[in-house]
């Protein structure tokens, strides 16, 4: 029956309208056949059917869309049977005119009385919000995928896929992005030729991350290439690069190690200057490691920039350039540090590829496989004729 105020009048019951006039759709279903035995006015209104069409014949499933019916049969009723209650389930009521009313459904039953009590709340606004939320979530996922693809594409343009093959010189370079590679870092390296027997090897780190850092990294890279043609001395090149970066107007600055290699009498003359960057590591064939380079100021950071070129005649040593992603890698024992790096280098076999690979592998292992910052490493050595 449909409970009305009149039908429910009872002196012992101070709230005779509790069911009939409840501000939510309320229905009672008989067990075990699941047909409606009581509905209130709001339920009638929500489902858009008169009480005469509902009682004793309609089931909950028959009032829902097909998707809701399947969800009810395969999930909700088994859960109700098991847990005795379900709450906040989003469903659509299907009215006889074909329109859909989004509702939230709560229902309960008890072990001694299998009668099912169901309440429905109209949820048009919430549904709109959910819809927007799902659309926003999908859009955000797509945007994140696009941004990651963009970052990785951009990063590839800053890092040569493999250093060029240079007669009489072995060069091994490696780059590992921070985290999952979804953010562009500022690390870069470049290896390029300026004369028949003259090459530059540059490795640097632009401060900050993201697209603006990547734009500055790109600027630093092509400016270095352009300057290298007219300024054969590394410290002189850094002076010009410093001025160019100041003139650029960016807040990003750059640390770098820049090296020229000139072929001389069956070996290479190396000239090297540092700009706020860790010194290069020189390893001899006996495994002894020492630093190469005189500290300088970062490029584009201070007014009185200062750079010094050092010269070294490369014989059977290897020279390793690296960014601070190596020494500032964080593990259980704190930062990886220069001491660990030097002793690792001492234990390496005396070949550029072995050294570069060993350093990147060890530093990644130290951080359990996830780099907290970009890692760039370049090692080179004269190749015996």
């Amino acid at each position: 029956m449909r409970l009305t105020r009149e039908a429910g009048v009872n002196p012992a019951d101070p709230f005779p309208d509790l069911f009939a006039d409840a501000p939510c759709g309320y229905a009672v279903l008989s067990a075990p056949d699941g047909t409606l035995t009581h509905v209130n006015a709001e339920f009638e209104r929500l489902v858009g059917r008169p009480v005469s069409d509902l009682l004793g014949t309609a089931t909950l499933a028959s009032l829902l869309t097909v998707g809701g019916r399947i969800l009810l049969e395969t999930h909700l009723l088994p859960m109700l049977e098991h847990d005795r209650a379900i709450r906040e389930v989003a469903l659509d009521v299907l009215r006889p005119d074909g329109s859909r009313i989004p509702v939230l459904l709560n229902a309960n039953t008890s072990s001694d009385d299998p009668t099912l009590r169901v309440v429905l709340f109209e949820a048009r606004e919430r549904h709109r919000y959910e819809h927007d939320l799902l659309a926003a979530k999908r859009a955000a996922e797509l945007a994140r995928e696009a941004a990651t693809a963009l970052a990785q594409t951009l990063q590839r343009t800053l890092i040569p896929p493999a250093p060029p093959r240079i007669p009489h010189l072995d060069v091994a370079a490696a780059y590992r992005p921070a985290g999952d590679g979804s953010v562009v870092g500022g690390d870069f390296y470049d290896v390029f030729q300026v004369g028949p027997d003259a090459w530059w090897i540059v490795l640097g780190d632009v401060s900050g991350k993201g697209v603006s850092a990547a734009a500055v990294t790109s600027f630093v890279r092509y400016t270095t290439r352009a300057l290298a043609l007219d300024h054969p001395d590394p410290s002189e090149l850094l002076q010009h690069l410093d001025r160019a970066l100041h003139a650029h107007g960016t807040d990003h600055y750059c640390t770098a190690v820049v090296t020229t290699l000139t072929r001389q009498d069956d070996t290479w003359s190396v000239r090297l200057a540092l700009a706020g960057h860790p010194p290069a590591l020189l390893r001899d064939a006996a495994g002894r490691v020492r630093e190469l380079g005189v500290p300088g100021t970062p490029v584009g950071l201070v007014d009185a920039a200062r750079f010094t070129t050092v010269t070294h005649l490369l014989r059977d040593e290897t020279i390793t350039l690296y960014t601070d992603g190596v020494t500032e890698a964080r593990g259980h024992d704190g930062l990886y540090g220069e001491t660990r790096l030097q002793s690792l280098l001492e234990q390496c076999s005396h070949r550029p590829h072995a050294i570069t690979d060993r350093i990147t592998d060890e530093v990644l292992r130290y951080q359990h496989g996830v780099a907290s910052d970009d890692i760039a490493v370049v090692t080179f050595a004269a190749r015996p004729a």
């Binding site: 075990p32 056949d33 699941g34 089931t59 499933a61 028959s62 869309t65 097909v66 998707g67 809701g68 019916r69 399947i70 969800l71 049969e73 395969t74 999930h75 009723l77 088994p78 859960m79 049977e81 098991h82 847990d83 005795r84 209650a85 379900i86 709450r87 906040e88 389930v89 989003a90 469903l91 659509d92 549904h127 959910e130 939320l133 799902l134």
Partner: protein
């Protein structure tokens, strides 16, 4: 880890007794059989399991690519039966697992000597003159509805019954019943409702009984009779209950019907 552990499988009942394996359908897990399976433990070895991605099956068992076809589930079930080595079993499959059971029997007739298909459908989508009961847009509607409910699907429903969200009981419930990772549930729904196994049915070579609910809004009578007619010699029994899960709504009748079907003569 073996398949017994991976699929959270259990075997109860007297050694040497004939074996009966209950496989749950889309939604929930082996608990769907809790009112029915114990009734067979006196004279059968009763096997219960959770399908990959459902119930308490190990998360590593589910593979989106492999389980995009029912054959993926079939292969898991075959591996489990090989590992259990119970001899030929009676295989009871509910809903989509009725078709998984059919595929197991066809691929390995030596493992299955009897099929009981509870509320089966070989194809849920209409394909005139075949009546499956659903259109493609109905299934889209289901997937959309599931994604809406996944906004808060995992947690609030469990909190309701278990109280304190940090309690052990809560963890147990959240894992236990009808809760599947949203992306897996959506994929399982898609493979269930978009599949078509009608061509497989004539290849079944074991005695088969179809148990149909009198008023089932998921698998209509036309689906059950199609399965009965397509499987050589299959029988059909109607259980007088409403809904898609007679093992929950009419456990005693379901037990009796399964018992009768176990004794059914070979066609």
């Amino acid at each position: 880890m073996g398949h017994v552990e991976l699929l959270n499988a259990t075997v109860d009942g007297p050694p040497e007794a004939p074996a009966i394996v209950f496989v749950h359908g889309f939604g929930c897990g082996q608990h769907m059989w809790r009112h029915v399976a114990p009734a067979f433990e006196s004279d059968h070895r009763v096997v219960l399991l959770d399908l990959p991605g459902s119930g308490d099956a190990h998360p590593s068992t589910y593979d989106s690519a492999r389980h995009a076809r029912l054959e993926g589930y079939r292969d898991d079930l075959v591996a489990l039966l090989h590992e259990l080595d119970l001899g030929p079993v009676a295989l009871v499959g509910h809903s989509v697992s009725a078709m998984i059971a059919v595929l197991v029997q066809i691929a390995h007739p030596e493992l299955v000597d009897r099929l009981v298909l509870v509320t089966p459908s070989a194809r849920y989508l209409d394909d005139p003159p075949y009546v499956g009961g659903f259109t493609a847009s109905d299934i889209d509607d289901l997937l959309e509805l599931m994604s809406r409910n996944h906004l808060g699907w995992q947690d609030p429903l469990a909190t309701l019954v278990a109280g304190d969200p940090t309690s052990a009981a809560h963890d147990e419930l959240e894992q236990a019943f009808c809760r599947t990772r949203p992306e897996i549930a959506a994929e399982f729904a898609a493979v269930t409702f978009r599949g078509d196994n009608r061509a497989d049915l004539p290849k079944v070579s074991a005695p088969t009984v179809v148990l149909q609910a009198a008023d089932d809004s998921v698998a209509p009578p036309s689906a059950a009779t199609f399965v009965r007619d397509a499987i050589p010699g299959a029988g059909l029994e109607v259980i007088d209950t409403r809904g898609h899960c007679p093992q929950l709504t009419a456990p005693a009748e379901t037990i009796a019907a399964i018992r009768r079907s176990l004794g059914a003569p070979h066609p």
